[in-house]
Symmetry: D2
Subunit: 163 residues, 4 copies
């Protein structure tokens, strides 16, 4: 596999992730690896970031972590390619620019900033198991870039058609 | 006036701003200046950025523009203190970190990223004339930082109590 | 004074500044204010940043601080317009993009990065009391942007001709 | 190979690189790959960036490009893992934070900013075939982080002892 071929992002809450968010993210990470896509996340050792990278690594995939800090403290053990930005939340912009498309799994304020930045920059977003209120909100902002999905299989199938 | 005392942000769409967004932003900028607060925006020569800074300058206020580029091309004439970041959308993060609170006037994907980053960083947001769908969405993300307001007078009164 | 007219940077070491660096920076800050230029620095409460802003403020000038962090901790009391980037050393790039020209007073690794970025972006640099080794080094990188100066009077006179 | 194990940077001029800089960078890239280190550069399709990544890829190595822009325009074909920052020269900071050590091959203003940022952040720098004036200059800034080297073999041997 040439890892440059397809990098996809998975965005979602860290400390605020629910058990359901994490199990969904783990399964999503597995399926991303099975498609030979490289998984990019914010790289921290909690929540959707950690769970999706664990899934990808355990399925033999490649993972990139775009870290807010300058050192491995707080980094997930499942990051294979760590990029240390030292730029705090500004690294969210890099997450989006570097992903061919992004999955939003769970919701927090950071995730919300990343969905918004994706729509701003023309990056497709797969809204995985998001609430009707969330979908309604983002439909105000884009009619073409949003792709609601019911589960990881559906999400990955929709991504496949977009890539 | 010591300009360091109170810097407040006004966030809103550029090219996508409606006439109503712009007239509201103009009035908001005037009232911000009348309170001797310094107005910070994304600094470009269109939409809510331009209109709010025009209001502030015409009312004798001070304006800061945090520009995405490296030169004055596309900058509003109403920016008094231009900060050139050369960082594109990552400057949205600086807008939020540098504002004691922020007003969201109108809505676009960039504005949405800034509201989200404000909630992420604990910065109060005055949601000025936002739709019920928008308010409902953000109430999922914060119960304490959101302050819906009906018009510039109400928005500024709410800001005054927060500062 | 319209503060947008001329923003000039003063770059120099923080904790590593010598007493001579600081007294030179103080005098330089005074002269910058006397020319009605706005002074931009990295904004921290030590070394050349602190001393130059103290000089400017005591001479009635305006100061901008581009801070590496997200809060006033460690910020100089002489910053009038604080911009919080949360981007660590990446704020050095903003310092340079936002200054019409920059003075280098004293030398440390951060200062060195800023002189280099100035040459990279075509920003004139006044090398104030720099060593022959330093001047020789930078002359490898630019023949047109470097202006060695012997003291604050000479530095400001050279800046005046460039603006 | 676990690509997370050791990421090393190669910094050097783009358009201003000499033929000697490029042939040295090519050989350095080969040797980096032979040590199973991952090569990180600024990712553009010219000069030391392009040559070192070509060497690494042709020797079976892995390459990361930290790009200043938001799209593949101007990117080297030898970038395997592209990170799009959209942050212009601020990406130089990420280059340094993400490298366990960095090689400086050739010299330009951007390279100079990266050597300086490395010394600021405590990152070792292998100064490959740099001039005596350059070595003298940087020895003012650090006594422990600088490692002059005569050729790629010497450079890689010195890196090996540091990792």
């Amino acid at each position: 596999m040439d890892p440059s071929e397809t990098i996809v992002g998975v965005m979602g809450p860290g400390g605020g992730a629910t058990d359901k968010d994490k199990s969904t993210a783990y399964e999503l990470g597995q399926k991303i690896a099975q498609h030979s896509w490289t998984l990019l996340t914010g790289g921290r050792s909690e929540g959707v970031m950690e769970a999706s990278m664990k899934g990808a690594v355990e399925a033999g995939g490649t993972t990139i972590g775009i870290l807010p800090g300058t050192s491995p403290a707080g980094m997930s053990d499942y990051v294979q390619i760590p990029i240390f930005t030292g730029m705090g939340h500004a690294r969210n912009v890099i997450n989006i620019h570097s992903s061919r498309l992004t999955f939003a799994c769970g919701l927090g304020a950071g995730t919300s900033s990343e969905i918004s930045l994706a729509l701003k920059t023309g990056t497709p977003v797969i809204l995985l198991r998001q609430s009707p209120d969330t979908i309604t909100y983002y439909q105000q902002l884009s009619t073409t870039l949003l792709h609601p999905a019911d589960d990881p299989d559906d999400a990955v199938a929709k991504a496949y058609r977009l890539l």
